[in-house]
Every structure is written in structure tokens, then in C-alpha cells.
Subunit: 123 residues, 2 copies
């Protein structure tokens, strides 16, 4: 799994990493039960600090996507709480849609964009 960090982005490094791992899990590039590289390995691979990787893994744990264990490291273990996930999605989606609506993007275009993303990324 290739991970690319944009150091000029205003998105925090640990968040960029978290996002790409989430995408990796969603696209089955990383499967449930598999172990993520150790914080040191991952850190060296992408040229950031071990601690920043640790933070990303912690966020993933808090989001119920991995479990962390001193022996095995971070294992992809999805804890599905669909109701909470839907609520969360709704709140964040509202903000995205509102901004888009201001910019003249229609409901139809949003639906098309979503299908496009599912198709392109094989979600």
C-alpha cells in the first residue's frame, strides 16, 4: 500500500495518514485481520516521525477500525456500529452539501459524483 504525505497541506500529517489507511481498508487493499506496519516501519517508509504514526493509529482505534496491542501492533478489526456511523456521516455530509450548494453544485451532480467515486475507487 503506497502512502503519500503532502507536507505543504494544511491537513495534519497524522490525519492524512489516517485518511489513506481508511481508504485502504475500504478498498480491501488492507483486509480485516491484517496487521498494519509497526509505527517505526511506517514512519520510516513515509519519512515522518514514529509518534505521528502512533497518533494516526490511535485515531483509527478510537474510530473502531483497528485494535492496538503491544505484541501484534495495529490489527484491522472493524467494530461496526452502523447507527452511530450513519449519524456521524449525516452531520459531516450536511456541511459538505451546504458548502457545495453555495457553489452551485446540484443534488444531481452530487449523486453522480458519488457513483463516480465508487466506480473509480472500487469501494
Amino acid at each position: 500500500m503506497v502512502i503519500e504525505i503532502d507536507f505543504n497541506s494544511d491537513v495534519a500529517i497524522y490525519m492524512q495518514l489516517r485518511n489513506q489507511i481508511v481508504i485502504g481498508i475500504a478498498t480491501a487493499e488492507i483486509r480485516e485481520g491484517e496487521t498494519l506496519p509497526s509505527v517505526r516501519q511506517m514512519a520510516e517508509k513515509i519519512g515522518i516521525n514514529m509518534h505521528t504514526v502512533n497518533k494516526a493509529y490511535s485515531v483509527l482505534r478510537q474510530e473502531g477500525l483497528v485494535t492496538i496491542d503491544r505484541r501484534r501492533g495495529a490489527v484491522v478489526t472493524i467494530d461496526v456500529d452502523k447507527i452511530q456511523a450513519l449519524e456521524e456521516l449525516k452531520g459531516q455530509m450536511l456541511i459538505l452539501l451546504a458548502k457545495s450548494s453555495c457553489k452551485g453544485i446540484t443534488r444531481k451532480e452530487v449523486h453522480q459524483l458519488i457513483d463516480e467515486i465508487y466506480r473509480e475507487r472500487q469501494l
Copy 2:
């Protein structure tokens, strides 16, 4: 326009304010050409610091939703760059969809949720 801030949220206050103003513009509760309350008025109304409001307004300016002028304050002036808006939307939507997909939310459910949001909030 009623604005509510959750001081226990992990979302920054200025971002919560920005979000609610974006929703206000999207739902035409605030129309193009109208002026937002002055930073002091808004700050007092919702019980936060003037400077935090200023930050929210600055973000809105950077996003091309308002223009700021020492005389008139913050005026809703939408600068439509649809191509850029679509690109931005796509990037953020991908992350949302990936997370949702991990949690077992289907493409169909996403489409339904979007229609639900448009209906409920009259976007």
C-alpha cells in the same frame, strides 16, 4: 438566524460557526448581498470572543463566500468556481465514503441519506 456552539465539541469554535453560516447561506436563510452581524455583535450573541468570530469570517472569505470590508463588515458574496468546488468536494467526499464503507454503509444508503438531507434542510 440561530447559532449554537457546543463548547465540549472537539470541533474548533470558529469552525462550528463557519459551518452554521455555510448552512445558513445554503438554505437561503442568509441571502447574497446581505451583511453578517459585526464580529462584536455575533460574538456577544453567542457568547464567544470577537476574535474567534473574525477567524470564522476570514475562513468564509478565503472560501469565496463573503467579502470583508472595514465599512460594511462581512457581506455574503459568492464567488463561484464550480470546477474547484467539485474537486474539493470529491476529495472530501472520498474520505467520508471510505469511512462509511468500512462501517458497512452501502452506496444506496448514501444516496438515500443525501436525498434525506436535501429534503430536511431544504438545500
